[in-house]
Each structure stands twice: as structure tokens, then as C-alpha cells.
């Protein structure tokens, strides 16, 4: 086909408006989040006195940190799928999360006697945490990747990893309201491991699914 012919066909297709990326993302997230929440209710469920717990600093810290990570990685994802868009700053901004976590750990170490450190770190639910966060993040990950196929990521592996990070953060935020281990020490080890796993999964899937 001649290039001019192709252009004629493309111009004729101009009226078929593609959905905006933001819209595609929002639309895909509805079932993604609904499935995650359904799994949460079916298998985990909220801790008793959930609202009271928000006044408990350790609990509020882990929930807010997860939500912050979700917001920052969502911002990054949306930039990564737009060719030529500035994404470095959005990526650097993610560093706020580990910085806050480090501060939380410092406070925890100062306020908890050394003899209790390892108990706080290991907690009571480590394996459960490792399984649950990816389990809750899986449907959001699929939804995010599906919607990102509308976009044009210059680096599919990186965009996929950012999608995995976002899905992991969503899973973590949900799981945080279930798990009785509130210490930043526990969060730093087990949440990080679980989120890293789903981030890697997102990256691998991104390479396959986000090519264009």
C-alpha cells in the first residue's frame, strides 16, 4: 500500500475517537477494585474496631503510606504511557515513600525496647501478608495493564513495573486494614517483599502485553 493511500485511510478513521487514557484507566479500575474488594471481604475482612484504630499512629501510618504509594505510582504510570512526557520527576517522587518508612522505623526503634524488635519485625502474620498482598493486587494489576494497552509506553517493562507497584500498593492498603501487625518494622520487611513480587510480575507481563 502506498503511504498516501494509508494516510487517506487514517484520515477516514479520524472520526472514530479513541477513549482517553484517563477514562480507559478509570473504567478498567472499577472491576479491578471490585474484585480485589470482594476477595478481601471473602478471605480477609476488616479488623474489629477499624475506625477506632485510625487514631492509633502505627495503624494510620501503614494505611496512609500504602495509599500514598498508590497515588504516586498511579501518577507515574499515567506519565509512562505518554510518549515524550516527563516521567523522571514522578519516579523520583516515589522516594518519599521509603523515606517516610525509614523515619517510621527510626521512631519505632526509639520507642520499642531492643528485646521486642525481632518480635515486632516477624509479627504474627508474615506468610499471610506475603500471600495476601499479591492476591489482592492481581485483579487491579490485570485491569491496569489492560487499560495501559491504550497507551504507548516507551519502555513496556518499566511501565509494567509501575503498574505492578500500583497494584501492590492497592493490595497493601486493603491488607493493612486486616492485618494486626502494625509495626513499621513488619511493614518494611513483609509489605516490601510482597510489593516487590507483584512489581516484578507487572514488569514481566508488561513486556508481553504493552508492546505497540
Amino acid at each position: 500500500m502506498k503511504t498516501d493511500d494509508l494516510i487517506r485511510a487514517l484520515a477516514a478513521d479520524c472520526a472514530t475517537r479513541p477513549t482517553s487514557l484517563r477514562r480507559a484507566f478509570a473504567t478498567a479500575m472499577i472491576p479491578g477494585l471490585a474484585i480485589a474488594f470482594g476477595l478481601y471481604l471473602a478471605f480477609l475482612g476488616p479488623r474489629p474496631h477499624l475506625l477506632w484504630l485510625l487514631a492509633e499512629p502505627r495503624f494510620a501510618f501503614k494505611v496512609c503510606l500504602s495509599l500514598l504509594l498508590a497515588a504516586l505510582s498511579a501518577r507515574l504510570v499515567m506519565r509512562l504511557v505518554k510518549p515524550g512526557a516527563e516521567s523522571r520527576r514522578a519516579a523520583l517522587l516515589l522516594a518519599i515513600v521509603p523515606a517516610l518508612l525509614a523515619a517510621g522505623i527510626a521512631v519505632e526503634l526509639l520507642s520499642v525496647p531492643i528485646s521486642l524488635w525481632s518480635q515486632k519485625l516477624i509479627g504474627t502474620n508474615a506468610l499471610h501478608c506475603l500471600k495476601s498482598i499479591p492476591m489482592l493486587g492481581l485483579a487491579p494489576l490485570a485491569a491496569i495493564l489492560f487499560s495501559l494497552r491504550q497507551g504507548a509506553p516507551e519502555h513496556p517493562a518499566i511501565a509494567g513495573a509501575a503498574a505492578g507497584l500500583l497494584a501492590g500498593a492497592i493490595g497493601a492498603a486493603l491488607y493493612a486494614t486486616h492485618c494486626p501487625d502494625d509495626s513499621p518494622l513488619f511493614v518494611a520487611v513483609w509489605y516490601t517483599l510482597a510489593i516487590t513480587f507483584i512489581t516484578a510480575l507487572g514488569s514481566i507481563a508488561g513486556v508481553r502485553l504493552l508492546r505497540w
Binding site: M1, K2, T3, D4, D5, L6, I7, R8, A9, L10, A11, A12, D13, C14, A15, T16, R17, P18, T19, S20, L21, V81, K82, P83, G84, A85, Q150, G151, A152, E154, R211, W212
Partner: protein
């Protein structure tokens, strides 16, 4: 025209296209083509690839511009978006052909909009990308692209609704882009 003004004009036409103005959109693609062609030839020549290979990259880039146009923010500058898409498609083409990648890093604005004419392809070559499309999509794409029919013309000719023609055209173009992407050289 200076690069900056040129990019502003492109952005203007693209916005008009997004608002449904097919003529502006067509003009934009016609303006971009020589620039993309010059860029593709410069990128592929060091790899010892022919002008017809470059033309494939041009077509693939045009398809990507079209199918991914929602990834351009209307407030964002047009140039970086265009360059990123062109670079992505060029790297993809070189990688598929297993060549070492040495891309020119110059700005598009430095390229004179004179990429030369489209290379003459063999008659048999014309339409080689259309062949594999499912018959329904192929007849529609062919009628609009090669015979120059409008959506309404095509609808009348094949006794279809304009909506069905639009869907077939869009699916055909998406399939074409997929075909380019997975094609062995």
C-alpha cells in the same frame, strides 16, 4: 518554517483532527510524512537498509501516531511526543531486523521537510500488507485507501451502515499495525 512554529502548526492540526476535522488531520499526516521519511532513511541507511524498508517504518510510524493519538495531551508540546513515537518505531524496526542500533539524536526541526519522494514499489508489493486482512476488513480498507472512497461511498457500495464501515476500517488499521509489528523482515 522554524522548528518551533512548525510544531505549533502540527499541534493545531492535531487538535483539529481530535475534534473530528478529517481534512486538517489528513493535512497533518501529509506534512509529517516527508519529515518521518527523511528521519527513517537517515536512521536506517547506516544499517544498510533500503528506502523501501524506510517506507515501511514511515507507514508503521503513521499507524502508531494514528492509533496512539490519545496518548498525546492536547496541552503538551507535540514535538517530543512525535519524536518519541518515531524513535520507538525505528528502534523496533532495527531490532526486528537484528541490526545494531545507532540512531541519529538530532532534533526533527533540523531535518528539512524534504525526505524525497516515496520509493516506487513493485506493483506486486503494493497491497502486500492488505492481503492477510480478513476479507471484510480488506475490501473496506482497500476501497477507502486505494480507490479513495469516503465512508459513505463505501457504505453504499457494500450495502453496509456507515457505522459498520467505520468499525471495519478501524479494525483493519489496528490489524495492519499488529501485522507490521510481528512481521519477519
Amino acid at each position: 518554517m522554524r522548528g518551533e512554529e512548525q510544531e505549533k502548526q502540527w499541534a493545531l492540526l492535531m487538535r483539529a483532527g481530535n475534534a473530528g476535522d478529517g481534512d486538517s488531520y489528513r493535512r497533518l499526516l501529509l506534512l509529517l510524512t516527508p519529515v518521518l521519511r527523511a528521519n527513517a532513511r537517515r536512521g536506517l541507511a547506516p544499517a544498510g537498509m533500503a528506502d523501501t524498508d524506510a517506507e515501511d517504518v514511515v507507514q508503521e510510524t503513521l499507524l502508531a501516531i494514528h492509533l496512539k493519538r490519545q496518548s498525546w495531551d492536547e496541552e503538551a508540546p507535540f514535538g517530543p511526543w512525535l519524536r518519541a513515537i518515531a524513535r520507538h518505531k525505528m528502534i523496533d524496526a532495527l531490532r526486528r531486523r537484528g541490526r545494531r542500533i545507532t540512531l541519529p539524536v538530532d532534533d526533527f526541526s533540523e531535518i528539512l521537510a524534504d525526505g524525497g519522494a516515496e520509493p516506487d514499489m513493485l506493483a506486486a508489493d503494493v497491497g502486500r500488507h492488505l492481503e492477510f486482512l480478513p476479507p471484510g476488513q480488506r475490501t473496506i480498507v482497500q476501497a477507502i485507501a486505494i480507490d479513495g472512497a469516503s465512508i459513505a461511498d463505501a457504505a453504499a457500495r457494500f450495502s453496509m451502515t456507515t457505522g459498520a464501515v467505520r468499525v471495519a476500517l478501524h479494525r483493519g488499521l489496528s490489524a495492519l499495525a499488529r501485522k507490521f509489528r510481528t512481521e519477519e523482515p
